[in-house]
């Protein structure tokens, strides 16, 4: 920071877990120079697992993040399957894991959309925060709010049926799973699946209508061109559990395609910046300046060629028909993309429940121990990498994780910067409008900040404005 630059700090009230804080750096002429979203991340884990037996890791890692424990459980388990020497799970084990993952995608996306994002979308993001919250939605759109609650509950029931508990379920063990579904568990989930599919399709409609009705306003909101990264199947279709890596650049040109997961370090590098604990991953061939990329629902739609389930595929086609050929760069279109994935997840749940393997009893395979493995999964928020080395005593010697919020770190900074430029230009006061817009821009990415799941869906914000000498000029708080 130069001597004469100014610093505006937007700081969410500290919570127990990871929390965020936004600093906006101004230059001498009060123009926005840079925006930084600070996330207290969980780097401690990578040291904490050192020396632990490898089979403990998929369980330990669930405690890393209270927001998507299932995704960490499954990504670590995929790596540990390979450490145990198992390349292919039994059909039952693979399908049980997929089912659990789809339950997690469904419940996480439903929570985000109905609980956190829908107030912004239904009331507009300049609406009074006293109305723009989930209670406001419940009052004005009671049926929608009810569906949101029940959809989330359904996703949690899928997780419970596979893992025995709704939270911190354990189903995956190296080489397979410890249970399959009973016929009763399967039938209970089947009873509701069609209703859930209809509601998911209706949610796609809500997100689509919002996007198209407000396209002029949101097209540039927190938007910029970027590369996109995600998993695809070998045939190019959307894949959330076990795919190959693909990245496209801002024009849609393929940067790398169908890359095996264990080669991720050949194409991605991680940059450390002095002001953040979080690492900044980038695509090597583009370099640290241009190589940052987006992950998550929008990125996944941008990298895949089709979706395997019919209703979600129709929704995907409608998405690009309305917004133009991929890659779509509209940040607020994350919400629409997220609901297309909700629809895909519930269609996939339906297919899996009808598959006889889901109640099968061949659960485990074994193999010859290996030293190193990578597990990659598409978590609700984006691509999640788990990389481990394990010694001959079965103890972990190295762990490296790239979580989706890390990949979306730079895009979120860009989004905040873009929003701040529109609102601040030349002023050094933090307006209510700036607060609202920063909040909405960050929320599009559904970052795994505990503040992002704060009660009523509001990010509690404390805003400080300091001059170059660190003197407090202005302060605003909310939440």
């Amino acid at each position: 920071m130069t001597e004469s630059s100014r610093r505006i700090v937007i700081e969410p009230v500290t919570r127990v877990e990871g929390h965020g804080k936004v600093t906006i750096l101004l230059d001498e002429r009060h123009r926005v120079r840079e925006a930084r979203l600070h996330i207290v991340e969980f780097r401690g884990f990578e040291r904490f697992v050192q020396g632990r037996p490898y089979w403990e890791v998929p369980v330990l890692v669930q405690r890393l993040c209270g927001i998507c424990p299932v995704s960490h459980h499954l990504a670590a388990s995929k790596a540990m399957d390979l450490i145990a020497g198992v390349e292919r799970l039994t059909p039952t084990a693979e399908k049980i894991r997929r089912l659990m993952h789809m339950g997690q995608i469904f419940q996480s996306h439903a929570l985000h959309f109905f609980h956190l994002a829908s107030p912004d979308l239904l009331f507009g993001f300049d609406a009074d925060p006293a109305v723009r919250n989930v209670l406001g939605v419940a009052q004005k759109h009671p049926e929608l709010a009810r569906q949101g609650v029940l959809m989330r509950k359904y996703g949690q029931e899928v997780i419970r049926a596979t893992g025995g508990k709704r939270v911190h379920a354990i189903v995956a063990v190296p080489g397979g799973v410890n249970k399959s579904l009973s016929a009763a568990e399967r039938d209970a989930l089947l009873a509701d699946v069609e209703r859930m599919t209809d509601w998911a399709e209706a949610a796609v409609g809500v997100a689509r209508d919002y996007t198209l009705d407000n396209l002029e306003q949101i097209a540039d909101f927190g938007s910029f061109t970027s590369s996109h990264l995600g998993l695809v199947r070998a045939d190019g279709a959307l894949e959330l559990y076990d795919g190959l890596l693909r990245a496209v650049d801002e024009t849609g040109q393929v940067i790398f395609d169908r890359l095996e997961n264990d080669r991720y370090a050949e194409v991605l590098a991680e940059e450390v910046r002095s002001w953040s604990y979080m690492k900044f991953p980038f695509i090597r061939s583009l370099g640290p300046e241009r190589g940052w990329y987006r992950v998550g629902p929008l990125a996944r739609l941008n990298v895949c060629e089709r979706i395997t389930t019919p209703r979600a595929e129709a929704a995907r086609r409608a998405f690009f028909a309305a917004l133009g050929d991929p890659p779509c760069q509209v940040t607020m279109a994350y919400h629409w993309a997220r609901m297309i994935e909700v629809l895909h997840a519930v269609e996939a749940i339906h297919e899996l429940l009808l598959d006889p393997d889901i109640t099968g009893d061949e659960l485990l395979r074994s193999g010859t121990r290996r030293e190193e493995a990578v597990g990659v999964i598409e978590a609700p928020r984006g691509t999640l990498f788990h990389h481990y080395r394990v010694d001959e005593n079965d103890q972990v010697t190295m762990a490296n994780l790239i979580v989706s919020t890390t990949s979306n770190n730079e895009p979120m900074n860009r989004a905040v910067r873009q929003v701040a430029e529109q609102h601040l230009s030349g002023r050094d006061r933090i307006t209510e409008g700036l607060l609202n817009h920063v909040e909405v821009a960050i929320r599009a990415y559904d970052p795994c900040l505990s503040c992002a799941t704060h009660a009523l869906g509001q990010m509690p914000l404390a805003v400080e404005l300091r001059d170059a000498d660190g003197r407090l000029l202005d302060r605003r708080t909310r939440g």
């Binding site: 020396g51 632990r52 037996p53 089979w55 403990e56 369980v59 330990l60 405690r63 893992g163 025995g164 508990k165 911190h168 379920a169 354990i170 189903v171 063990v173 410890n178 249970k179 485990l364 074994s366 005593n393 079965d394 103890q395």
Partner: protein, 241 residues
Amino acid sequence: MNGRLTITVDGRRIEARAGQTILEACQDAGVYVPRLCAHPKLSVYGSCRVCTCLVGGRATAACVQPVQPGMVIENDSDRVLEIRRTIIEMLFVEGNHFCMVCEKSGDCELQALAYRFGITHPRFPYMFPERPIDAGHPELLLDHDRCVLCGRCVRASAELDGKSALGFAGRGLRRRIEADGPRGLAGTDATGDDTIAEVCPVGALLRKGTAYRTPYGRRRYDHEPIGGDIDAPCGEAQEDR
């Protein structure tokens, strides 16, 4: 008469056989006495004191003390329960017991005792000792973090497996289970088929390659509290802490 005698436990008269310990006599009469170091297949050891009861007002280890005619025993009084609760809490803070990630969770006797006694947080400060993990054996793993020094494995190696793979070393807070040899467990003749892991009440001595194989709902203490097979108390098993 065949050596039969009568004792009184919590005001109830119980028939016992001469030569039985208090714990055995109570168990035969459907009275559960909590225990950790005691094990039906192993010799009496009497180190953990979880089985403490009051005999004529004096604290006594029920797993060691033989019954005597006319003995008056307190097993279920507030005072006895408080002593046991305190001992269990001390066992928790002396080691590093992270039940929520431990592969023995749901099958662990220490965890099950905590549930039975309604312990959610120990009253004492955690000591967070630094203890190593002995993972060099291809089939067995010894995680000292979770060891409660009950000595079941030491006795099982000698009495059931006919070996002397394990012993005690150190004193006081430094006391620990130690493998017989400089290379840890890997340097002993212990194998995965030995009984030493099977008798471990906690997640300290483990057979490799078996972790988390039992799903929630089918683990030993998921539906019945520890001792429930002896005295069938009311109450439900609880989720992990």
